[in-house]
Amino acid sequence: MTLNQYLRRAWPLYVMIVPGIIFVLLFRYYPMYGVVIAFQDFSPAKGFANSPWIGWENFEFLFSLPEFSRILTNTVLIAVAKIVADQIGAIILALLLNEARKLLFRRTIQTLVYLPHFLSWIVLGGILLDILAPHGILNQAIGNFGIDKQLFLGSNSWFRGTVIISGFWKNVGFSTIVYLAALTAINPVLHEAAAIDGAGRFRRIWHITLPGIRPTIVLLAALSLGDVLQAGFEQILTLYSPAVYRTGDIIDTYVYRVGLVSAQYSLAGAVGLFKSFIGFFLIVLSYWLADRYAGYRIF
């Protein structure tokens, strides 16, 4: 087949892919080039190409800031706690839903617990700010038991817990879907055979159901490695306040404040690049592990 013959048939494929390439070049690759601001004393008037280079100065300054270890610790602590809570919660919830035999009941519960996943953090944050306020319904409720008012969003002893629990609220239902799909793939004959052999309910859950979803558990554990720097930017930006920066300020919120509120582009760019760089290796590692141990490929 000559090139001419090939192109006569294939040219529309190239035309089709061009718009996507232009958008990705402009809005994904051009910003990647823009990470050079981390090594510059960037000024918007001069742009990426003409701002003066200053080497590693921004990073040296960044690593000397007391905030740096704080935002890194907060990010990893919150993200890991969320992953663990979410996955364990999802496994337990999926197992319990799987044991509930009445289909209509199951569907109803699923419908209700998936819902928060589809609402924005502004809507959920608005709800949380209302119910967790000092005079909100939760403080009224615990007040009935003689417990003092708690600042769920405004105190450093509560903030991380509030973030983890409200993240759980939004995501745990949706996370069960993958496990439920894996559970339906378990052959019911295994359960019947075990029951005939005298295995009770709990033994069957332990020896048949759980091993049946083990590949899925391994897969999601591997994939979640890519998220250990994702503590939940939109959630924390919605819920936090200066009073809880000590326990709640994360890399993303810091980049936003320093870069876009205070316009220190180069410093914020350095923090952002630090995160992008580590995040990239985490994601690649997680995909590699998922492929190696669970045979998973996205394409």
Binding site: G20, I122, G126
Partner: protein
């Protein structure tokens, strides 16, 4: 089917039904509370007397919200964004996924293009450079800043591509032998056969556009251009009315507790409307990509 006879097993069932019911109620309770607040009179709402049923039932709060020009303007911006943004997303997802679903023999350079997109998904330039690019393109305060930067949702492209690959090759081959172009093959074979996947991805794109607010916050320097979720942030979350340069009296009214509740519910209703469809499709939607072997 196994019939459970033992007492411990039946106890477990009872506990299980109670636990799941309680958990679902707990997930829903905060929303029910806000819904009750939004339907209550302003005095009992502000005083904190409302729990899960409205007091001094009224729809006045909703009338107040829908009568506010500031709120309605942001609502219309969001509607415009969902319509244009979703259409653009889906056009690009389909156009990009189709060539990528071909083998490198049919579409030379396919693997190179694939890596071009995958790398763009894995490595992120970060917030600041992305913001500076949008600004340098002169997109601040335009609808374009909300729909163009994420015009190509790469993960959706991969899902669509995986779905296209499962379309039987014989249909395409016979059409190509009969002289049809790839345009016709895409339009008359692939799209009609992929409608469930397209519906799923369309719904997800629409929900994402409706829920997005951070881009509005950074790209709209004039608050009058805020889409609804961003506007809601200034009223419901930030509770800081001084930095909003639009009709302060209107904002004062909208920040009343019961009216805040009404705005939260108004922002939720479109999601509830599409939710049954979302639920029907998203399980198959997830299957078509994420757990594909």
């Amino acid at each position: 089917m196994i019939r459970e006879q033992k007492l411990s097993s039946r106890l477990f069932d009872g506990f299980n039904y109670i636990f799941l019911t309680a958990f679902a109620i707990l997930c829903l309770a905060p929303m029910v509370h806000i819904f009750a607040v939004s339907l209550s009179g302003r005095a009992p709402a502000t005083a904190g007397f409302v729990s899960f049923f409205p007091l001094d039932f009224t729809i006045e709060n909703y009338q107040e919200v829908m009568g506010s020009r500031t709120f309605l303007r942001s609502f219309m911006i969001s509607v415009a964004r969902v319509l244009t943004g979703t259409s653009l997303n889906m056009a690009l997802v389909i156009l990009t996924a189709y060539p990528l679903s071909k083998t490198p023999r049919v579409f030379k350079g396919r693997n190179l293009f694939m890596w071009f997109f995958v790398f763009a998904m894995l490595f992120d330039g970060g917030l600041i450079p992305s913001f500076l690019v949008v600004r340098s393109l002169g997109l601040l305060n335009t609808l374009g800043s909300l729909i163009l930067p994420n015009a190509v949702p790469i993960f959706s492209v991969i899902l669509m591509m995986n779905f296209f690959r499962d379309v039987p090759k014989e249909l395409e081959e016979s059409a190509l032998i009969d002289g049809a172009s790839h345009w016709k093959v895409l339009w008359f074979i692939y799209i009609p056969l992929s409608l469930p996947a397209i519906a799923t991805l369309t719904l997800f794109a629409a929900v994402n556009h409706w829920n997005a607010w951070f881009d509005g916050l950074i790209f709209m320097t004039d608050n009058a251009n805020y889409p609804m979720q961003t506007f809601l942030r200034t009223v419901v979350v930030e509770l800081d009315l001084t930095n909003v340069g639009i009709d302060p009296r209107d904002l004062q009214r909208l920040s009343d507790r019961a009216i805040r509740g009404a705005q939260i519910i108004v922002a939720t209703v479109p999601i509830l409307v599409v939710y049954p469809f979302l639920q029907r499709y998203f399980i198959s939607g997830i299957k078509l990509g994420a757990i594909k072997e």
